[in-house]
Subunit: 329 residues, 2 copies
């Protein structure tokens, strides 16, 4: 692994859930960290996510399409973690144009800036399992066809293709991680825009019943955010990652009903109910999903280390404390 | 086949090469034809393409994103032929943002308008073989993986996915044709933005040497524009086309050198030379391509009817006459 001390790192989308966890880790490793975030309210960015490290990072509120501002910030950076993105599938259907702006236009702009002004920076791009759509087979490996089921998936797929293209045509050093459900401290819990699990955590902490849509039998895998951060760092560190696409995944898989039961058990109280899918969500549901992450395991040595029970406990503890410490927004 | 007499048809991109040929055919079939085109100079739209039928069609110069104007035009239309697009691969690399605007934002806007205001119209979308990228196998069928090699291919792929998504989620009646090199009267010959063949025709008519990039051995298939128009009409007419994706193709395939020889033979004079690929074009070249069009043949009964020699002769005759009739632009 790279010795991160003194390394210059820019995290785009750095105030979001994963970006801020990555920033904390990099600060601990004594990297020089610049965070860029547009702080769009519907997205994951939140100043509270960097509470305690404010003075150890540089933060710039801007849209990555503001080329004149982003060019000097990228100057002499060693690494660009590209976590820019709109993640909400339903929002992407209700407002496909904003999703296009964020997930395509922004990506293109960032890559054009890198190509023209800073072609030596190594890019690690956070893509998503959403681009696979409804799986043809399980577990899903990286060779699985891409057939997205919503506008978000189409645009994320295009965003990923830009990175592949700029790597191939212009020789940029880019690698791609396809993340599955990532969870942990600082995940968005005020609504289901980032993950349904975030909203479940809100429900259980508010003393409400967790609502599971569908049958409760749908299978998913989950990556604890520290494991996702580790994968990002390993992909950045290792030349064998350049030009590659890697699935992340979780240790085993779990049905949504089992997940709800586990949450109730860890929290020590609460309950859940299985309710019919809202029509608009059903239309873009992907059914069962879990990833084959053997490729990153074999090539970079990554595997998820945090079990679901431990990860959920730490997440709930964090959310409980932070909801007591600050007024809910 | 549909009895087209009195059918209400809107052709978006209707002043372009294929759109205007389609319009001519539909006028002959006594359909009521509305043409919409933004007439962007770098694209295919040209008022001269409807010379002789000006009084038998309605033409509106507008961008399909001008929702307030397009909504009333789509009112009670039976068919929407969606031929909107930027086709130049090289332009898409030099200015990916414009390509994004035309090939993604415009498509999304048109589909949103249809979904919200005119969901009953049947859409026939002109996609492209460019989204396959460098073929994994030949001939390429519709199951071939999509791995585009340029920004244009990425955006065209997204545009196609929008149609598939809106068909699946909102029940729009959409079908997709993936066109290969289409040629014929009214093709763009003032540069290579639409096809390299258009530029070759310019070269031979101007008494210049045809310049073949690469080895001259690259294989391609060609569809004469009347055959492409026939495919568009058959896809519109047949419910078995709804929700489907069809390759078009040509009768046989030909190497670029053979194609140049054929052009010289038909024209009765001229010559060609094989020159190295310009670097920017080489980077996005797809090598050999020819399509398997068995699916549309089996399902809709389409097959190309115009042989390459006859098609090229008619194209050259048209271009010769029109270049004599009007000053070159």
């Amino acid at each position: 692994m790279t010795n991160w001390a003194g390394k210059k790192v820019l995290i785009a989308g750095g105030l979001g859930f994963i970006g801020s966890n990555l920033a904390r880790r990099l600060v601990d490793l004594r990297a020089e960290v610049i965070l860029v975030d547009s702080l769009i309210p519907q997205h994951g960015g939140d100043l509270r996510n960097i509470a305690g490290i404010e003075n150890r990072v540089q933060f710039h509120k801007l849209d990555v399409r503001e080329e004149a501002k982003i060019i000097p910030l990228l100057d002499r950076q060693d690494y660009l973690f590209n976590l820019v993105g709109q993640t909400c599938h339903l929002d992407s259907m209700h407002d496909p144009f904003t999703d296009l702006e964020i997930n395509c236009s922004s990506q293109l702009s960032l890559l054009e800036t890198v190509r023209k002004y800073h072609p030596a920076v190594k890019i690690i791009f956070a893509s998503t399992r959403q681009i696979y759509g409804v799986p043809d087979y399980l577990p899903v490996d990286e060779a699985h066809p891409l057939h997205p089921v919503d506008t978000n998936g189409i645009h994320k797929m295009a965003g990923e293709w830009y990175h592949r293209l700029y790597q191939k045509i212009y020789g940029l050093r880019a690698c791609i991680l396809r993340l599955t459900n990532t969870y942990g401290p600082r995940m968005r819990t005020k609504d289901a825009r980032q993950t349904f699990l975030g909203w479940w955590i809100h429900q259980i902490l508010a003393g409400e019943k967790i609502k599971i849509f569908g049958t409760g039998k749908q299978l998913r895998d989950f990556t604890f955010v520290e494991d996702a951060v580790e994968a990002l760092l390993m992909a950045a560190s290792d030349e064998k990652a350049d030009g590659q696409i890697f699935n992340l995944g979780g240790e085993g898989r779990v049905s949504l009903e089992e997940l709800a039961e586990l949450l109730v058990e860890i929290h020590g109280s609460g309950s859940y109910q299985i309710v019919p899918f809202p029509k608009d969500l059903k239309a873009i549901d992907i059914g069962d999903y879990y990833a084959n992450y053997r490729f990153i395991q074999d090539r970079l040595g990554w595997r998820p280390k945090t079990g679901l029970k431990e990860g959920l406990k730490r997440t709930l503890d964090y959310c409980r404390e932070s909801s007591q410490a600050k007024p809910a927004t």
